[in-house]
Symmetry: C2
């Protein structure tokens, strides 16, 4: 208790240290930190009276709102975690999340997604045992529920290792999985981000990206932790973003390229003053309209990140050379690059990137077997391949999909593909393993050449040999017009079927 | 283990991420992070072979050295804490520390302090059970001991809540007490300091202040945690500091006013280039010689701090108004201002400042009763008085020495003295409590007037009444030529004896 610091504790201190500082702006709602603390306390009491227990899940099925922050913090007072679901999903996908999480309380939105939510609720088995609160309709509204809670904060502080937030991540193994992020993970990473992006109590952040995604949330959290101001807008609308940036003096926002182009169009006549916004994105017109961001992260943005490690795990700004590596680990994480037997590989060798530290997730919700696998030996296995450069920086190679075993050697298709793709005649390529009676498997390349370009099997093999260890080079090459794909992803199963792939280590017979 | 991050873990990652980055410079010794990791690993093995156990203490009896960092990190690999003793102390004081800590290993220095160390060793009962290693002589030298350890790091990571460092603090209750600071406290506070003072991997810090004091160490730690360079020098010598700043390109240093004046003198002719040094200290000549520090902490330095909370607990830079408050809590600590019954007082009322969070000490070594008292209810009681201002910022009032009880009211002498001292005729003043049959105690002021100034008892009482709650005003005033003192501190026992003070709540009869 003496050393405890949860997100609810941060709120408690802000309520005293920054009572009138604006914590959240959402439409007509404007909450100072003291007001926010009162509302969160009432919500926590209402949730507790409803029966919410430590370890329970709360589910937000809606667009961006200050209520996400309220639910996160009230959950933190009780030891319950909040999940923000991707509201663009189908009813079927939403029903999967409902059944997977079995939430104690769901807050749902009618506007834009009401039909999908209703259908999901009707088909999910777990939906009936949840309390459903309405975000924007009259039947059992969130606001009435909150108002029923007592306003005195008599909750004890809790263990910062408890899960505060659950976020669904990429479906590596068929289904999406919810990464459980602790209070400690969020607060620790927020301190790192605050330094990198120079986020201080004077900072105002426009939550204009999806709040079911850390790309948006990592700045939301950092802004909250240091006592700054979060502004919420339900979804991307260029004119509304301009209005908010001007009205609230926003210093940061989550803006993708297309949104920036829309803003440039909307604000062609300069009717909105966007000079409060710090920006590092390219075009001169945009740079003129905003203020150049001089923070270390803006001067050298990005790195390697993953929801499972609470966002950025390496930062480019920590590399001394701008030559293709993805920076170095932030100072709160340990990284190793390991072979399939979890032995650390030598510098320069490709292996799986693993991590340990306070920002690593508590595991995936409701996936004990996957957790045993991914968190084995006290290290989070990222499922991504990387290489340690001689200067200690880390280069991300690609997702660790399948492993090829040739003699005693482990060969990662992604590494061979990366080398192969540098051949000027190659448009796209894929690597598969084919069963080999002597060597277990041998490496086969499937190559589509650029129009009008020519290359022989020998050319391709020699090109790869010149770049990586010889045992990794393809033994054979097949030429195709284009690679089969599942959406964006190369369809390796189809390639195996067409070109005799198989015999992968660990594959089921 | 999955979420662990100790100082040894930080070193492990730096050894991989920053293998050739200079970690430490000390005389002829220059260690990259990979080299430092190897030396620390050998030292940890040597310590383990000697029998050092988790919870043991290591003691450094010497001046500044890179070996302090090595011992801290090797201790961290084993779960043992390092204490750096104040080497300016007498033999008697050093013997007290030896007996209090009962260290497993002592590293001691001959130069300047050899006689005092030998005398302390001869008189201490616990000295004989420690292994004594020589820093700068030939009998059982540190270097030979370290060289005997195995160079492979096969230690498991440990609990970051373990004590990493012990630092003796002010003797509130007669004897000095060693505050136990955890890995978590040091790393968390380092992230906060790194942001405030803009400490990055490019930062080089000159350890020119005493390394038994957090005022120096808080920057040492932040520099280490982010992967920067620490330069060590045994003690303050202006010409040597200039040489090191120029040779190593130091960006920061611990420099008090007299040292800055010495440097200005030594470098009058500009023979040393000190432009790498960031500085915010005053004189134009100094500003010209160095580079202006634009970090938030330099623009608005200081705040309220204490060894027991790992340095700065509030920072002035977090206040929006520069009017006398001591800023706001850093975002990793909770603060409350409480009455003697640990109930939170209203804003504007004076009470004891208490704190909770990951940067709070683990308690004082070997002081179970004091810990029960100071850490009661899961809050660290700072023994200092403070007031919460209407804007949420905190004003430090003074040490909580004695409490006066008048009727049911608690009156802190420091608060009354602060109000009284604002009277233009008052040179110095003290407040005592005198027994009162009806109200338990009544408040008495002892006042020395400025030469040539006049004020009556009535003037004094009315002046105080105009500033603070009426019940706190003195009931009587005694005028003296000057206050009795013990060194710098007012001798309240003498005042009580002379003016009938007594009846303090909780005082022994």
């Amino acid at each position: 208790m003496l050393h405890s610091l949860t997100l609810a504790d941060v709120l408690r201190e802000h309520a005293r240290s920054w009572p009138r500082q604006t914590a959240a702006v959402d439409g007509d709602v404007r909450l100072g930190y003291r007001d926010l603390h009162t509302r969160v306390t009432k919500l926590a009491h209402a949730l507790a009276e409803h029966g919410v227990q430590p370890g329970d899940r709360l589910l937000w099925m809606g667009q961006n709102s200050a209520r996400i922050l309220e639910l996160l913090l009230a959950g933190g007072m009780l030891g319950a975690g909040l999940c923000c679901v991707n509201w663009r999903q189908t009813a079927e996908e939403l029903a999967f999340v409902l059944d997977d999480l079995a939430p104690a309380v769901v807050v749902w939105q009618e506007a834009e997604i009401g039909d999908a939510v209703r259908e999901a609720r009707a088909t999910s088995r777990a939906a009936a045992s949840a309390r459903w609160l309405a975000h924007d309709t009259e039947q059992d509204p969130y606001e009435t529920f909150l108002d029923g809670g007592a306003p005195y904060d008599d909750f004890e502080t809790r263990d910062p290792a408890e899960t505060a937030m659950l976020l669904y991540t990429a479906a590596f193994a068929g289904t999406p999985n919810a990464a459980m992020l602790s209070h400690q993970a969020i607060i620790t990473q927020s301190l790192v981000m605050a330094h990198a992006a120079d986020i201080t109590p004077e900072y105002t952040y426009l939550n204009s990206g999806p709040m079911f995604h850390l790309a948006t949330l990592m700045t939301t959290f950092a802004t909250f932790v240091v006592g700054g101001t979060n502004v919420f807008t339900p979804r991307v609308d260029a004119a509304e973003l301009c209005r908010l940036i001007e009205a609230e003096g926003c210093n940061g926002a989550f803006l993708m390229g297309p949104t920036i182009r829309q803003i440039l169009e909307v604000n062609r006549d300069g009717r909105y003053d966007l000079k409060s916004l710090r920006s590092h994105a390219g075009k001169p017109a945009w740079t003129d309209m905003t203020t150049v961001d001089t923070s270390p992260f803006a001067r050298n943005p990005a790195g390697y990140g993953q929801t499972e490690v609470m966002g950025m795990m390496t930062m480019n700004l920590l590399a001394t050379r701008p030559q293709g590596s993805h920076g170095r680990a932030v100072p709160v994480v340990q990284t190793r690059i390991v072979d399939p037997d979890d032995r650390e590989v030598a510098d320069g060798e490709v292996g799986e990137l693993v991590a340990r530290g306070p920002t690593v997730m508590n595991g995936y919700w409701n996936r004990p077997e996957l957790n045993d696998e991914r968190l084995r030996g006290g290290w989070h296995h990222t499922n991504d391949l990387a290489r340690r450069e001689p200067d200690g920086s880390i280069t991300f190679i690609g997702p660790k999909t399948r492993l090829i075993k040739s003699a005693a050697e482990n060969i990662y298709p992604a590494e061979v593909e990366q080398a192969l793709a540098r051949h000027p005649a190659v448009a796209e390529c894929a690597i598969i393993g084919v069963p080999d009676p002597r060597w277990t498997q041998s490496v086969k390349a499937i190559v589509a050449l650029r129009e009008g370009e020519v290359a022989t099997e020998h050319d391709i093999i020699e090109h790869v040999r010149g770049q990586i260890a010889s045992y990794k080079k393809p033994r054979s090459v097949e030429f195709v017009d284009r690679l089969p794909r599942n959406g964006f992803a190369i369809d390796y199963d189809e390639l195996d079927a067409r070109f005799g792939g198989g015999g992968y280590p660990g594959a089921r017979p």
